[in-house]
Assembly symmetry: C2
Homo-oligomer: 684 residues x 2
């Protein structure tokens, strides 16, 4: 399902603890060939790794892979759902109905998508260390960012590649990752949501499963199908039980290296706050959606993403209530502290980072609500208000020297900003009103009716009335208007009377102020402390551990297998026949008409989904499951319920990844969708 | 605001720890005269206490007091909100508009309300101990309940009073409380919700405040205004800052005596689960409410109650995240264990109740979702389905011998059951569909689509479709239909084809099964363990502590005072003028037209609300604030935000109760509402 999307978070990551069994999200510059080959009796080498890297694609929200020499990309349905929604209207939903381009000409451009292939990796730790040496924490924090911006800029100029800095081991290492970027990505195929996400939210993060969670895109270059350096051939027979399998992909974020205090802050504050807010919005969206088929259509992708986020965080919260997890964290920390004390020099250079983290966390608690509601936008939800805030802030930032800007507006980032501002995606006023009104209302609740910004915005209008007025009178739904303001720069934006621009101008000073407090009093000391912990770990444990996930390319290895659920064995493969038995006729357990029509022709023994013990998290959605020969033998789309605690640790016994079996892809493409041209291309 | 309503919960209570300062919810048979008089320099005596008891009223959801010799009852607006809603329709809301009976004839009967006055208290601990001696835990649990039922029944026959057993100190003591019950309670006065709950949910549990949260009822006997044994004269001047004040009322439930493990279960399971479910429903109700003025009207009281519950539990969760609270609990437990070990006999009779509680809590976790969704009704929300379940179960239970029934269907309880079934309260099908559909959907999510009961109910219909069919085809909205089935007994109910009765019949076996598991594996060992802890506490600490709240009559003492909020002093009185300054014109910060019209005549210096350091919790809503002379000098309606952690401990520094000042009551009754007859009656 849409379950392993990546959504950027502000989570802070530290280096991970010693690895168990098959766990590990290994970088492509640190893959433990010997260990993996010994464990699996395989013979992977650098050439295998390079080919897999060149065939793996990073989308803005997911992983994918090239599956033909003509730029064809395989990923999940839920990874192309936003693109399907962009093409849709109140009357026609490609999310619901699916899509097949019968010819290349019918392939539809995804306006807000890009496809990146990792082509180079360069360590820059020494440069960052040199730049920050001897500085105060706040100054180091600033110069660290400006140096990263500068190195990215130089790299882009020199290579014409997309260069992004990567912080591994929470400052233990800094890297520049270089990508070939495709900005013209088009929609080729997606099945109906009802079969892609069969079982819906109730089945999400469950196994056994029956989801054809696939979608296909095509990368274009200069208006022609791209010719990637490598692609993965699909082996439609799929893997055998117990067979070694590899996942190449972009796990988004894990928190396996967080300290006990950081985990408790997540448990006590971040997660409950997020969950309560999201659950209420879930209720509002469901109720809105139920009021008409049009509303259902325009709400579907938003609601799916939200429900996925709720399920993930709910289980993360459960994991953080396990006393054993917290006790293990405390013990690891105690061991590290003991080891540091043994070495006088290390003791001196490390200081007391845990105390410093406590202080930073207290500072974070002190600004949690304004940071969250004002700067981070929990009080200003919706597409339109986001456009306005981007315009107000982005035009001012763009006019500063590159190194002095917020990192989301550096030269390297501006193209994507402009792509998003200019994308002609549908804006539904009813939905905008709902989201903006609801978030304003909660902002008033949490900041209090007497907070100065709340008084400024809501002293004479209710949240709903203000939202209605803003949404119905703004012109920002028009991409031309947005681009004109963007091109006009800060002067044009300052002169604008658009009510949402006015709102964004009103918010921005408060938002900048609380961000500055966050950066100086939370981010800066936290980064300093976690850098010192990371270095102490390298000094006492070595570097043969993997870093926490950062939505950068990783490889992990495992085997096809089920697990034992409270004494009941769960088999690793499901079959098509059971999907029909389990269908109720009503969403989300409805098998679409296209399948019902050809039911008699389908081979009911076709394998549908499978489970493996690969170590994956959100961001791995759409990752190819690869066998030792380098063939694609599955399409990752989810994990079982135990995989969610993978944010904090890898449970060897129960954490399982879930993939679409290639056999059901072929069965569906051939017999349900008549996608002969695609099958032919895949056979090449 | 509606903030201190009592809603029965399944919380388990144990005796409280040693008291601090002014804390304490003292029973009327254990009030510490000497301590209170010494602390406050007062001279309360038994006669004072008896008079206060006779003037204090328990409503089904709140506290109240007699304020005239003609049965006039003063309580909160939010305590009469359900009665106002019962009188309302889609087109006319008494909740919004308020109500004033100009004559006795216009007073409107509250169909589901009763008013109880405590007239006697008898300890029955020895009888229960004798009945359960030597039994297994499960058998003791059953015989304990049947003995309580039997004693209540004998008492009611002998006295013609309402007799209810009360468990104090979680089995340390058992009592029979005897009440004079008024079943004819009529609505006399309520202001508009916008002034009763000025500031709405954002201001709830906040101070300074400006809420005229008052409502008036009248008790009738034999069709005539009742003449209570005592009433409290209102002193409209109100109390001075620092003046000793007493709250007589019915705090609903506190958990100050819970063990560490029980608190953690609340923190990890009960509270997050409840909050997520409630937040989603909150969103659905808000969205439904926003779709038309009619929908807003019919949703208001439900939404208010829900938002109050969310705020309370959110803060309870925060309190349980305080490491110091948990550490104190752990230390208290360690001290008790140490003291027990010193006494061989006590050690033997106590056993290891903490281990037994751990086992019981694990059993509870194992059945948490089915217990919650099936037996406790989280999966079946709404008035209509509740009627159906009461009919299906109640008719079967009623036909058993009194001592063998579920306690909610004993002879003593049946009158209220029948009163509720026969009440002609409005049923709004749209709202019923929403609530039932939403709860069925969550039941499917949490029990899983493959749970047998879920398959039975939802194998061919979606939750929304099932809810729609049931609600639109049932006849149970008609009280005559309900009463006919009730009178027809189990045979009539078994023969009914009403679709909701069919549903309730389908559910009942599963619901009974999981309840039985709960009773035997959770409730029975838990009660045994907490009884042993209570006895060990009596043995080592004596009985001079107060028991946890149980919605039975308590008195606590304190003084009028503000507090210091992070360095800022909060004054204990607010004034009318500030309410006008703070109004925005839009709900929930709207001052109603009736006040705006006479604004010039109002004395802007009139005190509005006040704060005291009395120890109160939910259930105390509507409690009289009484001075040492026994006059009513305030009307409790809320606590400040720090009062919510009062569930677990009393924070002397910051926990404050909030009351309506009598002066604003008089100002409003005289100048806004022209309630001259009432003022005259109050002056007698």
């Amino acid at each position: 399902m849409k379950r392993f999307l990546y959504a950027a978070t502000a989570a802070l990551m530290v280096c991970a603890s010693a690895s168990h069994a098959d766990e590990g999200m290994w970088t492509f510059h640190g893959f433990p060939f010997a260990k993996a080959n010994a464990a699996l009796k395989t013979s992977l080498d650098q050439a295998w790794l390079d080919r897999v890297r060149s065939a793996t694609v990073r989308l803005s929200n997911c992983t994918a892979s090239f599956v033909s020499g003509e730029g064809l990309i395989l990923t999940n349905h839920h990874c192309v759902e936003a693109c399907l929604a962009e093409q849709s209207s109140k009357e026609k939903s490609y999310v619901e109905d699916g899509f097949l381009a019968k010819t290349r000409e019918e392939e539809k451009k995804c306006q807000t998508q890009v496809a990146d292939v990792l082509v180079g990796m360069e360590e820059i730790t020494a440069k960052i260390t040199a730049a920050t040496a001897g500085k105060t924490e706040a100054a180091a924090n600033e110069v660290r960012k400006s140096t990263l911006t500068q190195l990215e800029g130089e790299c882009e100029k020199a290579t014409n590649q997309k260069c992004q800095s990567v912080t591994l081991y929470e400052g233990g290492q800094y890297w520049l990752y270089k990508y070939k970027r495709y900005t013209d990505v088009r929609l080729v195929f997606a099945p109906e949501a009802s079969i892609a996400a069969f079982g819906g939210d109730p089945d999400n993060f469950q196994f056994p499963r029956w989801c054809l969670d696939m979608g296909m895109l095509r990368a274009y270059e200069d208006g022609k199908p791209a010719t990637p350096a490598a692609f993965l051939k699909i082996n439609f027979a799929g893997p055998a039980a117990g067979e070694p399998v590899f996942v190449s992909g972009h796990p988004g974020a894990t928190d396996r290296g967080l300290t006990l205090a950081q985990l408790k802050q997540q448990r006590n504050l971040d997660l409950p706050q997020w969950l309560l807010r999201a659950s209420e919005i879930r209720g509002r969206l469901i109720q809105f959606s139920a009021s008409s088929p049009q509303n259902e259509r325009i709400t579907a992708d938003l609601l799916n993403g939200l429900e996925n986020g709720i399920k993930v965080r709910r289980k993360m919260l459960d994991a953080l209530h396990e006393d054993t997890l917290l006790a293990r964290k405390a013990a690891e920390q105690a061991t590290l502290e003991k080891n540091i004390k043994k070495n006088a020099a290390l003791k001196k250079s490390t200081g007391n980072p845990w105390h410093d983290i406590d202080v930073a966390l207290a500072a974070e608690r002190g600004i949690f609500q304004p940071l969250n509601y004002i700067e981070n936008g929990a009080g200003f939800q919706g597409r339109l208000v986001n456009y306005a805030r981007t315009l107000v802030r982005g035009t001012v930032e763009r006019e500063k020297p590159n190194g002095e800007r917020f990192r989301e507006f550096t030269d390297g980032a501006l193209k994507r900003v402009e792509q998003n501002l200019g994308a002609a995606v549908p804006v539904y006023p009813e939905l905008e009103e709902l989201r903006l009104g609801a978030s304003l209302e909660r902002m008033r609740e949490w900041l209090g009716p007497d907070h100065p910004l709340v008084r400024k915005l809501l002293s004479t209008e209710s949240p709903a009335a203000l939202a209605k007025r803003l949404v119905t009178t703004t012109k920002l739904a028009d991409p031309a208007v947005r681009l004109e303001l963007w091109k006009g720069g800060s002067a044009a934006v300052a002169a604008s009377n658009d009510p949402l621009i006015v709102l964004a101008r009103t918010i921005d000073p408060d938002a900048r102020a609380v961000r500055k407090t966050f950066e100086d009093n939370v981010e800066a000391p936290m980064r300093s402390a976690t850098e010192r912990i990371a270095r102490a770990r390298f000094a006492t444990l070595g570097t043969s551990v993997y870093p926490d996930a950062t939505f950068t390319l990783r490889l992990n290895y495992g085997t096809v297998q089920g697990w034992n659920e409270n004494g009941t064995p769960v088999e690793p493969f499901t079959k098509l026949s059971r999907a029909f038995e389990r269908a109720t006729g009503a969403d989300p357990f409805r098998i679409p008409d296209s399948w019902q029509k050809v039911k008699d022709k389908l081979d009911m023994n076709t394998p549908f989904n499978l489970s493996t013990n690969n170590d994956i998290v959100g961001g791995n959605s759409g990752s190819p499951l690869i066998n030792a020969k380098g063939e694609l033998v599955g399409l990752l789309f989810d994990g079982n319920i135990h995989s969610i605690s993978g944010s904090f640790w890898f449970d060897t016994e129960k954490n399982r990844a879930i993939a679409v079996h290639p056999a059901i892809m072929r069965e569906a493409l051939a017999k349900v969708y008549g996608a002969d041209a695609l099958l032919k291309e895949l056979a090449k």
